[in-house]
């Protein structure tokens, strides 16, 4: 038996963009069936540089610049997956995935079911989503409500550098189609991270308590996680000790972690950027109410984007849920007042 000296792990500041890039690189190196494709993913490395260097390292057959046609990209990925490949497709921006919805909803989401399990589709659909980057119209949509309303799709969204890597690896490895929502305003957020020995993170379908607290639970995901963490810090001044749950995975939804937290704290606020009406928060609030009714000291409240088309960049700050709006809502949880 030979002993292998443990490799020294180097943690240094890495961005979420770098972690996503590394996840694809490692998946492609380990599994020759993994193919990356989309608009501008080759020489340019994607408009956000998430696929930087993949075409150079693995060749254009494995990291392919496609014609400009989202329905074509996803439709072709269906055929590739039918033939045993694992396509990872990039939709350039949230709102530019809409031309692909016919393929997504009619085929990607239903193939396993309509073939009684004979034809699974291991496709990962990477979608940069959400606002806060000053983009002009059609560059800031939070489209998760459409995805979570479509049975057959797995929907995940990382909020940290570790999760960006871990959840993307898990998505590519999944035998089901995964909509992988990338909070684009966190692309350049940094953490100390080791690309050589990435920390193991919980898999798809598991939520994480990012901060423990006793007075109320903030339930959130993706771009709103850092906002909730900041709000939780600020709430200490008001005498509130907030717990923060990061869902990480919208479908499947980790009801147990959420329910356990709300039963502990007795109060809950759901926070997300997409509109409130018919948004994921509505479902979460309903589930929490069903399971925690006798533990609740107040109704489950929501802080969401307004129910309007995404505003122009000069007005987006009024639309996005910020720390103040979260704190105001937390204050409303003192129901007896």
């Amino acid at each position: 038996m030979t002993t292998v000296a443990a490799k020294p792990t180097t943690t240094k500041p890495a961005t979420m963009a770098q972690a996503l890039n590394r996840a694809m690189r490692d998946a492609m190196a380990e599994d020759p069936t993994v193919h990356v494709m989309g608009e501008d993913v080759g020489a340019l490395g994607g408009v956000f540089r998430i696929t930087d260097g993949l075409a150079k390292e693995f060749g254009e057959d494995r990291c392919t610049d496609t014609p400009l046609a989202e329905a074509g990209i996803l439709g072709a990925a269906v055929g590739m997956a039918m033939y045993g490949l694992r396509p990872v497709v990039e939709m350039q921006f949230d709102a530019f995935a809409y031309p692909a919805f016919e393929q997504l909803i009619s085929h990607v989401a239903k193939m396993r079911n309509r073939t009684r399990g004979a034809m699974p589709l291991p496709i990962t659909i990477r979608v940069p989503y959400g606002g806060g980057i000053g983009g002009v119209e059609h560059h800031s949509d939070s489209s998760e409500a459409y995805y979570v309303a479509t049975p057959g799709l797995t929907v995940v969204t990382p909020a940290t550098v570790e999760d960006a890597y871990g959840l993307l690896r898990a998505s590519i490895a999944s035998d089901d189609p995964v909509v992988f929502l990338e909070p684009k305003r966190l692309y350049w957020s940094k953490a100390d991270w080791s690309p050589e020995a990435p920390a193991a993170v919980p898999g798809i379908g598991e939520a994480l308590v990012r901060r423990t607290g006793t007075s109320a639970t903030l339930i959130t995901y993706g771009p709103s996680l850092p906002v909730c963490m900041e709000a939780a810090e600020a709430a200490r001044e008001e005498g509130w000790d907030l717990e923060v749950v990061d869902l990480r995975s919208l479908v499947p939804f980790d009801e147990e972690t959420v329910v356990a937290s709300v039963r502990r704290t007795g109060r809950a606020v759901v926070v997300h950027e997409s509109g409130g009406f018919g948004g994921p928060g509505a479902e979460i609030a309903a589930r929490v109410t069903e399971r925690c009714f006798h533990h609740l000291e107040a109704p489950v409240l929501r802080v969401t984007g307004f129910d309007i088309p995404y505003p122009p960049p000069m007005l987006e700050k009024h639309h996005l849920p910020g720390v103040d709006r979260i704190l105001d809502t937390v204050a409303r949880l003192q129901w007896e007042n």
Partner: protein, 386 residues
Amino acid sequence: MTVQELPGAGASHRSTPPPAWRPRTDAAPLLPDPEPYRVLGTPAADRLDPELMRRCYAELVRGRRYNAQATALTRQGRLAVYPSTVGQEACEIAAAMVLEEQDWLFPSYRDTLAAVARGLDPVEALTLLRGDWHTGYDPRERRIAPLSTPLATQLPHAVGLAHAARLRGDDVVALAMVGDGGTSEGDFHEAMNFAAVWQAPVVFLVQNNGFAISVPLAKQTAAPTLAHKAVGYGMPGRLVDGNDIAAMHEVLSEAVRRARAGGGPTMIEAVTYRIEAHTNADDATRYRGDAEVEAWKAHDPIQLLERELTARGLLDEAGIQAAKDAAEEMAAALRDGMNAEPVLDPMDLFENVYAQQTGRLREQAAMLRAELDAAEQDAAEEEDPS
């Protein structure tokens, strides 16, 4: 059993010849020229209308200045983003010039210059890119559809509008603009097909500027030219030098005339080049070399026309200077307009989502109103803590 024994596998099994088949349309007149059509520097230039060409020249110079000013505004942070049309001014301007007042322009996100050349105020045209509202003008009043950011999605609208106008007996032509990359989208194909089947009065102008962000034309299409695509739908495809404004004006006018006369749609591929990066946020060195850019700079739309007109004695130093002066005036007005802080009311967010505001939106509006009032009060107290 051999393959030959399969029934119907070979011609020998056919007892009767298939029924006579003939194409619905003769393809030959629909086929594009093998080379981009040119006027400037060719004998065809003899028939140029001097007055029209001097106007084209002034517009080109103004268009170049507009591009330079808009790019400068991105550096000053006045514009969030600007997709430049330096090198493509002839396409943008000719598209606007060939339309009558009642006609409609359907621009894509890059075509603010076409909208300005059609008479839209430059500041209004840049509202979208500045970020204060999505469309800075009334499309009905200007007969310019909103600049479309999702690619090719405006093309079916152009077809529908032109069709509706014809149903109503109105004399309206729609001219729709799209990039080379946009021709790969499903909406492009559906629009072309509808237009041809309905014989709608539409002109499709494809600006082939070499790239869709980083992706070169060769990775976008395997067709001989984009203009060839027209034939498959049953409309004429024209291939034109997009830097030759005389050729652009002629071919576009002809297509508009044809549409107006009930002759149906035309698709025009203008071969041009995007001299600058995709937008100010793009790094073009990642996907193309300087040599190619330099070669295209030598085929500059302004220089092509200036050379022709001065050689023919139709333009002199004074004319050139006058064009420059007019362009400077436009640039100064644009700078002033863009330097004025836009007046924004956050409460506008809730207006115009529905014709009748919903209860939910009223509730959300009240919440924002309260937040804004509280913030204003805080600010006032900070200023005057008494």
